[in-house]
Symmetry: C2
Amino acid sequence: MKGKRTDLGNSACGIARSLQVIGDWWSLLIVRDAFQGRQRFTEFQRNLGLAKNILSSRLKKLVDAGIFTVEPDPNSALSHLYVLTRKGEELCVILVALWQWGEDHCFETGELDHRMVDRATGKPLARLTLTAQDGRKIGPRDFRLKARHG
Amino acid sequence: MKGKRTDLGNSACGIARSLQVIGDWWSLLIVRDAFQGRQRFTEFQRNLGLAKNILSSRLKKLVDAGIFTVEPDPNSALSHLYVLTRKGEELCVILVALWQWGEDHCFETGELDHRMVDRATGKPLARLTLTAQDGRKIGPRDFRLKARHG
DNA sequence: CATATTTAGTTTAACTTTGCAACCTATATC
DNA sequence: GATATAGGTTGCAAAGTTAAACTAAATATG
């Protein structure tokens, strides 16, 4: 069996499992657009500029994975809406983590003209930081994976 | 120009910029392995089981992007070490966000046998949560993108 | 010293996935 | 009835992935 993308869906690693679902090239960008209020096939397609067959297959995969549900569109009988589930909404942490890292490391100074802000106050979100159970902030080398039983 | 992957590197979106760098199928898994202490080509290759040419091109891209530096191996003149830079270490937040989401949504109950723990205490990390500047925890619908100047 | 092994790749050939354009179907609107 | 819109499907070309073979240098072994 050659040329086939490795299946990470049975890995013991939570990161690999997540990537199996949302690690495709367009998936997280579709979810990002959904957070910005887009709901229809055509809205995603126009905004992202990806081919319709790819969008179709990604949406199918995301619906199968329980990240979107398909709802009827109250305004149009031939259109339907892709609505984020709870599982999909919880991807917000990953999106913000990606945004903050990109903001820090992937723009020239002054190049970035948007901010991720609190809807209530319009002020930027606080930075996501790794935190221990007791509330201590911890650094990038202060965590590890631990087997549960022995 | 057909069949070519869209370049997200000039997008105004921080998420798209991040994905341009670390959105490839294997890149974040290589970084994950680096956090677990792996440093050599062969260690990555054996552990991840990916083809060597793919590992070679991913490592090249990650070095170019400033996520790894190549250092000489003090124990072997023909081996060298891939060492995470500061920029690479700051991906920890993204990895933990992916881990926690995967832990919640991508395993059957009892299937997951590892935990992401604080190295000092051995206890699981606190959950990453979106937080406003004043410390309020906010939900998945309480943030948005805002243009910086008008 | 000669041979074998290890490390870190590169090259090649077969195969899979992605991407674009063009086409299709069903409903709605003029 | 003609046209537009939403949401696809199909066919083909390009790019990505794989395993396996091959290089080349450094080290280990006999």
